[in-house]
Amino acid sequence: MFLFFFWFCTETCSDSLPQQDPLRFVMNLERLPNEEKLCLCRKYYLAGFALLPFLWLVNVVWFFREAFVKPAYTEQSQIKTYVKRSGMGLLFWVAVLTTWITIFQHFRAEWGAMGDYLSFTIPLGIP
């Protein structure tokens, strides 16, 4: 998992541009060239597969304007794809988590020992 992180973070998107500083941290999307935006979007999308729906959410929110509101540019269609797929992945995760949490909360008391084993915190009082 941490090797994955290493790969993820050390891969910079700025290989094509000569003046990029690999340690540069981007805060503002406005200042990035389009190729880098695409690269960043793609990385966030791929990294989200490591059980990281939050990362997909960040991807969707951050790149939403780039993908859907801005006037068209060459890389926009690809960014759009990534944003859409991140959105779908996010929805999938939300559904799965909601289902699981509902099931757990409802049946926790009935499961007895198994319920306790799965529980991180056990509330006091009568369920």
Binding site: M27, L32, W100, I122
Partner: protein, 432 residues
């Protein structure tokens, strides 16, 4: 729980000194960091740095009319710039303190008496006599401060000898611990307080997401507001750990001592932080691993000066100050935008932590909301004054001393003078 060393490291490096930006950079250099604002030193001093604005003014005002005109414009812009930044720093500091106070007031875990102490404060305060207790707290403070000094010097040495990988790795480890372990504990306590049942898989997913996205945002690239939010959260977490594990009187003495240390280390010529900053400036590189909170913002200025485009934002790992500006290589490409990216003011995370410790302690042990609010106001006033001084002196300044002094004064006077006064007035139904 005995906090590990990395705890202290993180803590140490929080207070960052952010030197002010060097005067107008004559040529655009993409990798140029005009501000070395990192605090690799462990106990970086809290500092404020201001970048961008004045330089921009210097650069662009030169072509204007007489010198006097330029100076007047300069002054005005400086003050406006300063005012904007005061506001921009108020919000994160307030948020951090609000999170800490809210947690203290609701989750009793952080105010429960515990016999566990950090290894940095080995002397107990459960002694019979007042004198003994005072002595123990002073001894604890001495140990804590010396640990901080040693770590700071160690960090400066590492930085001088270019052991960047080591520093980087250290910062990553600390941020890992903060983002995963402390937030796990925090989440557990919050759930226990609200008496909800949560299962391990859900908690695992939540903590994994929170931590992984945090690491990505802080140490790599991420949206600025999210990064700022993460920095605020980890400062709050760190402050909560301190509030829990530092004994009562030691905490107050440590706060006072840290402010003095900060003052000395930043301003004196042989201070470690000052040396660090100077080294970084000589090498013209970003100060690496300190955690600095940067309030970058953009404002349109009618001058076409391309100089201040650079922001050497260097994101450092948690420990380091995170500078929030990024290098703006694209600036040259969009001269027609005339957008000037303001470098923003940087405030070290150590400052956030200690401000929050002060307010949190006031909320935990002080009488009631009067004390808490008084401390909060005092800290903000101190921050204002510090930023004003920053605007005047235009170099890195310690952010702790003024605020902490005001905070301590207000805390003790409110707790011992104002509080009983108000209670008596209320008891006798006497309104003034």
């Amino acid at each position: 729980m005995n906090a590990s060393d990395s705890d202290e490291d993180v803590y140490n490096e929080r207070t960052a000194l952010v030197p002010s930006e060097t005067p107008a950079v004559p040529s655009y250099r993409p990798d140029d960091l005009s501000m070395p604002d990192d605090l690799p030193t462990q106990r970086a001093k809290p500092g404020l740095s201001r970048r961008g604005g004045p330089a921009a003014v210097d650069g662009s005002g030169g072509g204007g009319g007489s010198d006097q005109e330029v100076d007047a414009d300069d002054e005005e812009l400086t003050l406006k710039y300063g005012a904007k930044h005061v506001i921009m720093l108020f919000i994160p500091v307030t948020l951090c303190m609000a999170v800490v106070v809210a947690t203290i007031k609701s989750v009793s875990f952080y105010t429960e008496k515990t016999d566990q102490q950090l290894i940095y404060t080995p002397f107990t305060e459960n002694t019979a006599s007042v004198g003994r207790r005072l002595l123990n707290s002073v001894l604890n403070t001495i140990i804590m401060i010396s640990v901080i000094v040693v770590m700071t010097i160690f960090l400066v040495v590492l930085y001088k000898y270019r052991c960047y990988k080591f520093i980087h790795g250290w910062l990553i480890l600390s941020s890992l611990m903060l983002l995963f372990w402390f937030s796990f504990m925090y989440l557990g306590e919050v759930f226990k307080t609200y008496n909800v049942a949560v299962d391990y898989p859900t908690v695992g997913v939540i903590i994994w997401n929170f931590g992984a996205v945090g690491m990505i945002c802080i140490h790599w690239k991420g949206p600025l507001p999210l990064q700022q939010a993460y920095l605020i959260l980890i400062s709050a977490l760190m402050a909560l750990v301190f509030i829990k594990y530092l004994p009562e009187w030691s905490a107050w003495v440590i706060l006072g001592a840290i402010s003095v240390y900060d003052l000395v280390a930043v301003l004196s010529p042989k201070g470690p932080l000052r040396m660090l900053v100077e080294t970084a400036q000589e090498r013209n590189e970003p100060i690496f691993p300190a955690l600095i909170y940067s309030s970058a913002m953009m404002w349109t200025v009618g001058m076409a000066s391309p100089m201040e485009a650079q922001r050497s934002e260097h994101q450092s790992d948690e420990e380091a100050e995170q500078s929030g500006g990024g290098v703006e290589p694209e600036r040259r490409q969009f001269p027609e935008d005339e957008l000037e990216e303001d470098r923003g003011v940087k405030l070290g995370l150590g400052d956030f932590i200690f401000y929050s410790v002060l307010v949190g302690k006031a909320a935990a042990t002080g009488g009631d909301w009067n004390t808490t609010l008084a401390c909060f106001v005092a800290i903000l006033i101190g921050l204002c004054l510090t930023l004003l001084l920053l605007a005047i002196f235009k170099k890195a300044l310690p952010a702790l001393p003024i605020s902490i002094t005001f905070g301590l004064v207000f805390y003790f006077s409110t707790d011992f003078l104002v509080q009983p006064f108000m209670d008596n007035l209320a008891a006798h139904q006497f309104y003034i």
